[in-house]
């Protein structure tokens, strides 16, 4: 029954519905944008209305929220965290630093284009984006999930070599022990 195509579609719809309404967010406080997360989650903006809640570890999280600039040192950890998350998983780039480097465009130790290194599903621009914008971004993501287009993880898996090459370039030759990513 499960292999039946129509049934699979129904199952997919149910699963996507569940995924959409239950987003566990790993807010990786990499940059100054992390300060926007508390108001988003607490009483003023209350993102929990939409089923969005914080997760403490990547194993439990669905969404990796990258809040701002990523130094070369941090990006290594971020990649690891992303790879530790369970499929399906989504990445939200947060603030202009993740889009084009923002004010760190000429910094010697900050990456500038996040989607070369990780499959970003949604970018939220602004420096910093307000909580309203963040929630807007989440709703966009939910829409994408429901439509079945939030396939960043799949994309990452398929283009792993490209991503790896990009990552290696930034992280340097001696960067060790990024786990083999084989699922």
């Amino acid at each position: 029954m499960i292999n039946d195509k129509n049934s699979q579609k129904i199952v997919d719809i149910i699963q996507n519905f569940a995924r959409k309404h239950s987003l566990f967010v790993l807010a990786y406080g990499t940059g100054c944008g992390a300060i926007e997360i508390p108001p988003t989650m607490t009483s003023r903006y209350d993102a929990e209305r939409f089923g969005i809640r914080g997760a403490a570890t990547p194993r439990q999280a669905d969404v990796l929220l990258i809040t701002g600039y990523l130094t070369t040192k941090t990006v290594k950890r971020v990649i690891r965290v992303y790879e530790q998350m369970q499929d399906p998983k989504y990445v939200i780039g947060f603030g202009s630093c993740t889009i084009n480097g923002g004010m760190y465009w000429d910094s010697y130790n900050t990456i500038k284009v996040l989607d070369r290194y990780l499959p970003v599903d949604i970018y939220i621009n602004g420096c910093m984006p307000r909580p309203e914008a963040v929630i807007e971004g989440f709703i966009k993501l939910q829409k994408k999930i429901m439509e079945g287009r939030a396939e960043g993880a799949k994309h990452y898996k398929e283009n792993l070599e490209w991503y790896r090459a990009n990552q290696k370039k930034v992280l340097g030759p001696t960067t060790p022990h990024i786990q083999e990513y084989n699922w």
């Binding site: 084009n100 130790n109 340097g172």
Partner: protein, 190 residues
Amino acid sequence: MEEKKAQILEKLQKVFPEISETKNDFPYNRVDLRIEKNKIPAILFYLKDEMGYKHLVHITCVDWLEEGKFEVIFIVWSPVDKIKVFVKTFLDRNNPVMDNVDMIWRQANTYERELREMFGIQFEGLVAPKEFILEDWDDMPPMRRDFDTEAYARKRFFARPGREDARDVRQTIAERTGEEIPDFAKKYSR
């Protein structure tokens, strides 16, 4: 306060006649003095043990590119006098070597590591792992003023299309608002 500062300088000068330049005209509890680099451990020892300057606030460095010098500054503080003493010394920029002082304060080790990594100043006898903040760094120490950070960033990181002009934001703003750009900003902007 002023008298106390003067007393301190006087006392130090008595013990260390090599002190070349002193300054205590800051309105705060701050005294500056300059000394040769080989006298640094001695004066720091003296300050710590004899005069009660038990706390090392910071070790920092200024890159005098034009003069070809690094100026290393040791800031020490006495909880009794409530006065900061800035002990400064010049190093040759081409051969920045000086004595390690982490036997006086353990925490000096950390500052020295930072200076070593960011300015390339070698502290003789410093025992610490090679990498501190930068990982796999193979270029010039990045905090030196002759390090071209933009070129380095271009070389190493992807840039999103649309920023090819690489204009300084200040310039854009100046054009829009008619604001005057200060000279020092012009110097390194393209």
